[in-house]
Amino acid sequence: MNGDGRKNAPHRLSSRLVQVAFLAIVLLAWFLATTRWGVSRILLPNPVNVWHQLIDIVASGAFIPDLRITLGELAGAFAISMSLGVTIGYLISRSRYLIRVFEPLLAAIYAIPIILFLPLYVLLLGLGPASKIALGATISFFPIVLSTIAGFGYVDRRLVTAARSMGANNIQMFRYVLLPAALPVVLAGLRLGFTVALLSVIASETIASFAGLGHHIVDLAENMDTARMFAYIVFVIAIVAFLNAVVSTIEGRARW
């Protein structure tokens, strides 16, 4: 293990270096495109401008109302998909027969582009947060329910038999055998569900809404305020990266 680490260390360093260099070159090309090569500022704003806009967005707190709406929608969507996904997944996992019926069915629905339901949700629930919550909940329900079925439905039967032979009652079986066996798989599904809920909430804001980070970016684009739009995009990417990192950390902590 030590030898491996030593062998890999220079390798890892050089790939990190290449990554940084690559980003620097992209930034430089961006800068040159707007200052020297005469690319329209409306299509491609100057990176220095974008930077100033970003500082302004963060310092002024102008993002707060939109962020609050987006996070609110995300929380609503994830709360719904998590409670329904875990509950329904667990109930299905209790029976071989139900697994055989529903697992392929749910996997098939998961494979269709569920964003197609957005117009329907807008029609039913309006342009406000409710339709975003409904879409985010629908999309993230599937990875959560499927991983819950996989986690609880395929626990090693030898472990279940061993526990039963030693006298485990139903509560002990759940607490000491089923739960620890299923938890890593369920958590991976929850993390995936969280990510797709976030993506679909922001995406649906760009398509049909009055507010939220996604909506704000579309607003700026329509007003040709591209420097601020780029700054907003960078800001949203940072928020998403931060949230995903938080969720991954929680997931890592909860594993045995």
Partner: protein, 286 residues
């Protein structure tokens, strides 16, 4: 009167999986009767798929036989009897998310041992199998032989009169198996446990058993019982004694025809239900 009562009485047990006509229909056991005497080590040996694990599961109340009955210490078996008997399975029946000590403690939690007693009992059991230094290790950090000793410690800590062991050393290499066999023989000579031990190794059966029950090919039933009259603990030198070889040859003769029968009957790859859970591969299904 009490001593005359067998530890386990198997009376006319037949067992089938599924119904005739179904794809999974198997007549696993046919009219098997057997008394396990108190304090003896009885080995079950027979062609693979003849129903040894099925019989052990029925003895331990893990499932009910299609017909027939089992009694443990005179009481009819209706379900698991954690206070009367403990199992040791072939492999991987340790909880991988718990340390060796936690595994042993958890068994006692399930069985209902008072909290104050568990620590001392766990220590004693781990010392008995020589694993006390590895108590805080996870099963994944142990060799196969150590894992089986941990499983044995978990069973011993339950302090049952009866141990049911289903090919406990079956997945181990020959040398490890021999050493564990010797250790088990020493351990047993100090306790009064009744043990039913499934094995597919002729040498292991002769080395460990007081009696060896030879199964016929499926549908399994007991073809003959051979007595190994040799006190415990048995020394490695027993393995080179003429008596050992004579008994081993006798067993081989009895088994040979049954194994041929079992093999010619198997036209399709044998399916194993219940023993190899899909969980390990299914962890990656997501």
């Amino acid at each position: 009167m009490a001593s005359a009562q067998p530890a386990i009485r198997v009376n006319g047990v037949s067992h089938q999986f599924g119904e005739p006509g179904e794809a999974r229909y198997v007549q696993a056991l046919l009219d098997t009767s057997l008394d396990v005497t108190r304090g003896e080590l009885l080995c079950l040996i027979g062609p693979s798929g003849c129903g040894k694990s099925t019989l052990l599961g029925i003895m331990g109340g893990l499932f009910a036989p299609t017909t027939g009955a089992v009694a443990v210490a005179g009481k009819p078996v209706r379900g698991p009897m954690p206070r009367d008997l403990a199992f040791v399975f072939q492999e991987s029946a340790l909880f991988p998310w718990n340390t060796v000590r936690e595994n042993v403690m958890l068994g006692m939690t399930f069985q209902g041992v008072a909290k104050a007693e568990r620590g001392a009992r766990a220590r004693r059991a781990l010392e008995a199998v020589g694993l006390i230094d590895f108590a805080e290790h996870y099963p994944g950090q142990l060799s196969g032989g150590m894992r089986q000793r941990a499983a044995l410690a978990r069973a011993l800590s339950l302090e049952t009169d009866i141990l049911l062991m289903d090919e406990p050393f079956g997945a181990l290499d020959e040398q490890t198996r021999m050493v564990l066999g010797e250790d088990l023989s020493v351990l047993l000579s100090r306790s009064n446990k009744t043990i039913v031990f499934v094995t597919h190794s002729l040498g292991e059966a002769v080395f460990l058993a007081d009696r060896v029950a030879v199964f016929s090919a499926r549908p399994g039933t007991i073809k003959q019982i051979i007595v190994v009259d040799e006190p415990h603990p048995r020394k490695p030198s027993f393995m080179t004694a003429p008596k050992f070889h004579a008994l081993r040859d006798q067993l081989y003769g009895l088994l040979h025809d049954e194994i041929r029968k079992a093999m010619s009957e198997t036209t399709q790859p044998r399916r194993r239900y219940g023993q190899t859970g899909p969980a390990e591969t299914d962890g990656e299904r997501v």
